[in-house]
Symmetry: C2
Subunit: 294 residues, 2 copies
Amino acid sequence: MSFKEELQKKTQKIEELLGQYLPKEEGFQRTVLEAMNYSVTAGGKRLRPMLMQETYRMFGGGGKVIEPFMVAIEMIHTYSLVHDDLPAMDNDEYRRGRKTTHAVYGEAFGILAGDALLNFAFETAAGAFDMELSERTARAMQILAGKAGIYGMIGGQVVDVESEGQAVSKDKLDFIYRLKTSALIESSMMIGAVLAGASREEIDKIRKVAEDVGVAFQIQDDILDVTSTLEVLGKPINSDDKNHKTTYVTLEGLEKAREDVEQISRRALETLDSLEYQNPFLNDLITMLMTREK
Amino acid sequence: MSFKEELQKKTQKIEELLGQYLPKEEGFQRTVLEAMNYSVTAGGKRLRPMLMQETYRMFGGGGKVIEPFMVAIEMIHTYSLVHDDLPAMDNDEYRRGRKTTHAVYGEAFGILAGDALLNFAFETAAGAFDMELSERTARAMQILAGKAGIYGMIGGQVVDVESEGQAVSKDKLDFIYRLKTSALIESSMMIGAVLAGASREEIDKIRKVAEDVGVAFQIQDDILDVTSTLEVLGKPINSDDKNHKTTYVTLEGLEKAREDVEQISRRALETLDSLEYQNPFLNDLITMLMTREK
């Protein structure tokens, strides 16, 4: 099977898993359940659960205890998009060619559906304790909460929002990329490693790989925004310029940005290769993320 | 020491505990940390952590493992108020005579500070696993997440928002009161019982007590809205009528509402008395909540 076929198959499996965990649309609170499911089923690459599962497999994990955490990380990612799109934030009416949650259900339900997804992520993850109560599952829950919070994703998000229309230092931009983008990828890969019983040293290496993957992914995003076309990218280009947004490209220039993606990607793959265990699909997936053309 | 003095002293202790757990206002993400702390330190009766601690004590609990959960429940309560006050929701500029979070920090940071508080609640609670990893702490985490979510507080909140300006059936109103108000009180008292090692039967009784306390508290709120004065209540009266809000009083009439508060309160105290363990302060606290005049 080609990488692309394998990727498709795995994505499909994750879609099915999400379907199993989504709440039934019934009862007085039906509308918010619909809004939650609308948000989660809007598509997307399901990268975070996939990275989690593939890291788990790399370290020899084969149980079902990973599943609630795979669902939880996708719900956290989804809630962050739902709240990002709100009128008080980016005010986006469309995402991936589909109306955003608040555009369909109204602003109040955009807020509430996001809250509900974040909470449901922890409710779902806590269900893992019924499958296995151990230091691994406890640590996985701590990572899930920590990496999503003020010292993780939300921390990056607030600095990003606050920096809009302002000059941003390299230090601050690195902070935003590490927290806003890398934190949930770190969470995904670390949880996979932790649940499979990886050693402290291995988990630390995996965290560094994930950090690099997130940062390279984000810089590549900045590069594509100035070098791609609307047709290839499927979304407007030069959007950062229009929004007066400081990016890696505006700070460091296109050439340096390309060199750095190259270098960070190489480092990530070297670190991954230095581990005792291997998962060729994970290497391919990470390579794809860092060198993508759209 | 009188009940009032004891109440004051215990509230003060909880304030100190919250102070220990609040994040330091430093780093690039400082503004959201300030907004979080502004929201949490806005005051309030700290009833939920107090009910949790007193239930814990009633069942003989004496450890520190309760503390992260006490902090977590107050953060969940606070985030719900911050998001409730948003322009897209109740659009309140003031709460307890103090500017609401979004009124001070802007709408985007009102949303983000709420998200951050909800997430920090789970991060804080997950810290309890470092103190004690057991079925008790795992179950406490599950209750915390479940009672705050779509089958708990958020579920009640969305139905309340959706019902505005509409006729509401008695069934639906009961649903809203049980979920919007009772769920976090159930969470508080159940977590206290679970962490102290109460039996399944005892936990179930405690849940029923908490449900009654929440419902009685809410009906009493409706009663005071029509019978009290601005001076005594410290907030405008007849607000439900002005907002065309269906309440227990508009549905059942003032007399029936009074009778029901009386009956539900009696039932709650009888159930509490039927338990082997006793905590006189908890009885006084619950009595105060259900019979309060403001």
